[in-house]
Amino acid sequence: MQTTKIDALAVHSRNSNHLFAGGRTADGAMVLYITTDGGVNWLAKTLPASGTASAVAVHPSNELILYVAGVKDNEGVLYRTTDGGGTWTQSGAKVFTGYLTALALDPVSPFRIYAASTDGLYRSEDSGVTWTRCLETSTAAVAVDPAAPSHVYAGGWAGVSKSTDFGRSWTDTNRGLTVKAVNALEFVSSTGSLLASTQGGGIYQIRPGGFNFLMLGATSGGTIEPKAGLYRRTPGTRVTVTAAPDSNHSFLGWSGDASGTANPLTITVDRDLVVRAEFLRNLFAPLEFKGRKEENRSLLFVEYINILTWRPNPANDSVAPYRLYLVEGTTQRLVASLSSGVFEYRERGVDKDKASTYRLVAVDPETNQEGPPATVTVK
């Protein structure tokens, strides 16, 4: 970078090597520097304006779309590019009377933009073509709740105002905010906390209310989309969850506050909910399960042995251990747990004349789940 004053820096949310630095060149032009290699090389994109860039915003999914706020002739100006800075269009000419201090894009509907200024907060619903001044108090910071984009927070000298309708109406939310002069606002999306840094009171944290929690989980053997975790949603939000079993696994159904096997499943978050997807490994019966009775005669005694043999089922994708049961009327008794490399079992000291029925099942060692049995009767 040449001799430049940098007043704003942004990093792309998905690619940390992509950085955007806005400022003013030595000869006074507004400029945006872009790097795609983590700051080794910077490309200067000069804006058709003199002054300095005070805020930079990047479209969350298309980083060719950029917004740069600046000051020109003592007025706030906003520029937009859709080709990564090749051409710039002024947005909201003659709209902003104050200095622009911060920009925020709706993370779900990025055509909705908020521009904070010393004269209030402005909102655009059409990617910056037209603007509405939706708050009249001087604003230094603006944040959109990523879990509920209709919830917008604006901070300034008088504290923090909250809107639940995209900035149309506002209420103050200053309880506990001893020092109200707010410089910056940002959400910690994973926990839902909103942070505010102040001029003389450090940083404050709040957990905004008005939400239900949605806890999504999955047993091993599959994944869900959205992925397992804790989500906050405004009451009444409909969420569609898709269960995807891993290979050799099956989706069994939903548990917790949902049931059935519908996939995808649509749930209405009208209270705090826990929804879990149950997956099971696909197991198959061992092959060629056979048995025979043999006499074992020694000098001192005679005993009879049931010799059982089988072959692993190659469909049990990795080698599975086995359980061997003896059927006794309507119940079964565990005879032995056998490791995966064993293909023969000898039950000694059996009755010479009694027929025995055995069941052999493959077992998923992780879940303890048993597959269907192979059965043999030894006479």
Binding site: I6, S197, G200, G217
Partner: protein
């Protein structure tokens, strides 16, 4: 708090092993969400005062809106906020020993507390003042107060107002002649003879600035310019508590000393610069002069000085000797030395008055935060504000805001705009 733990627990459950129990979230009370301070500790100090009866008892006021007054009773180890003011408090003072009174001076008024700062009474303002600057308590009369300020209506001059009846009536006298502007920096009252008062400040006339050190020996009725020898702003004055005719003046040209109550001044014979001064009451030869991120210490009554750096930050605003400790109060907070100025560490536990132009959240880790603190630099927290540490790269961004960003994949990588460009 309770909800905080609940959510943390739920997240832990979500990332536990596949068969870990999924517990149902408790219904969340959403109607009483409140902001909670998470630090970092510190603030921009405006004034510091030591209790004349207990050197471990100090008051500190910080620049913020509202103004915050903190108090320590353990020589600065820990601080507690005792008062919030809608007014901007510029100066604070303990009342005389045993009076239990605290005095505070704001932009717009004078305040007195008789209950350790829980509540404050607004006193009547002295007449004829257009600006209030510094306050000092009478050393023995609990109802006695002195105020240094700007006097006059069309042009301004420095003036002193005094009351002996808790602010019901005031007497005011002009100290300096009129200038276009006047500023009072320091007001010191002789600890045993309150007829002797010293002030420092400056007036800026249409042609030139004039720096002032003035003395009154009759309780403020008349004033004598004793600034001969100083050509710099006198930011602070210190009277040796054991021999109050021995006076020190903090200037950017060095620490001046006078052993005859200000009649004659001598500059130090080695480099010393100061914005704040303190004389050790236990050993009058030891003087501490606070400057930018460093102090000068003299052990020979201000003749020679040694610079000490390390562990300090910000431009000094006040120095104090608090029992066995020395305190350095600056725009970056309060620092304490327990070894007579040799080593320093931040002593601002509990002070939540930081000027934070911006902060940065690590997208990939909910617990990692960076705070850009004015006059201080970047702090990092790994525990969502429960603890903070100052990053070694010592650079303050002052009022510039969003000039850093955290790597979305790696919470340990902070991109920052380097200083000194343009």
């Amino acid at each position: 708090m309770k909800r905080g733990f609940l959510i943390a627990g739920l997240i832990a459950a979500a990332v536990l092993g596949p068969r870990a129990a999924l517990t149902r979230p408790q219904p969340v009370r959403t109607d009483n969400a409140a902001w909670k301070s998470i630090g970092p500790d510190g603030g921009c100090l405006r004034d510091l005062a030591v209790n004349p009866g207990n050197p471990n008892d100090l008051l500190a006021v910080f620049d913020s809106t509202p103004s915050q007054i903190y108090r320590t009773t353990n020589g600065g180890n820990t601080w507690k906020r005792i008062s919030l003011f809608g007014d901007t408090i510029l100066s604070i003072a303990f009342g005389p020993q045993g009076s239990g009174r605290l005095h505070a001076l704001g932009w717009s008024s004078v305040y007195c507390s008789r209950n350790g700062g829980s509540s404050w009474t607004q006193l009547s303002n002295p007449q004829g003042f257009t600006g209030l600057e510094q306050i000092a308590s009478h050393p023995s009369n609990p109802n006695g107060l002195f105020i240094l300020g700007r006097i006059g209506s069309e042009t301004t001059a420095l003036g002193l107002a005094r009351t002996t009846d808790g602010g019901r009536t005031w007497k005011a006298k002009r100290i300096s002649s009129d200038g276009n502007t006047a500023e009072g920096y320091c007001l010191r009252v002789h600890p045993r003879n309150p007829s002797v008062i010293y002030v420092s400040g400056h007036t800026r006339g249409s042609s030139a600035s004039r720096f002032i050190i003035s003395r009154s020996t009759n309780g403020g009725d008349s004033w004598q310019d004793i600034s001969a020898g100083t050509t710099s702003k006198v930011y602070d004055l210190a009277l040796d508590p054991n021999n109050p005719s021995q006076i020190y003046a903090a200037t950017e040209w060095g620490v001046y000393r006078s052993s005859d109550a200000g009649d004659n001044w001598r500059n130090s014979s080695s480099y010393s610069y100061a914005y704040g001064l303190a004389v050790d009451p236990a050993n009058s030869s030891v003087i501490y002069a606070g400057y930018q991120k460093r102090i000068y210490k003299s052990t020979d009554g201000g003749v020679t000085w040694t610079a000490i750096e390390g562990g300090l930050a910000g431009n000094c605003r006040r120095m104090a000797v608090a029992g066995n400790a020395v305190l350095f109060g600056s725009r970056a907070g309060i620092y304490r030395s327990a070894d007579a100025g040799a080593t320093w560490a931040a002593a601002q536990t509990g002070i939540r008055a930081g000027l934070v132009p911006s902060f940065f959240v690590a997208p990939s880790s909910p617990n990692v935060l960076y705070a850009n603190v004015a006059d201080r630099g970047f702090y990092q927290s790994d525990r969502f504000g429960r603890t903070w540490s100052l990053l070694p790269y010592f650079y303050s961004c002052d009022d510039r805001g969003r000039i850093a960003a955290v790597d979305p994949g790696n919470p340990r990588t902070l991109y920052m705009v380097a200083p000194g460009q343009g």
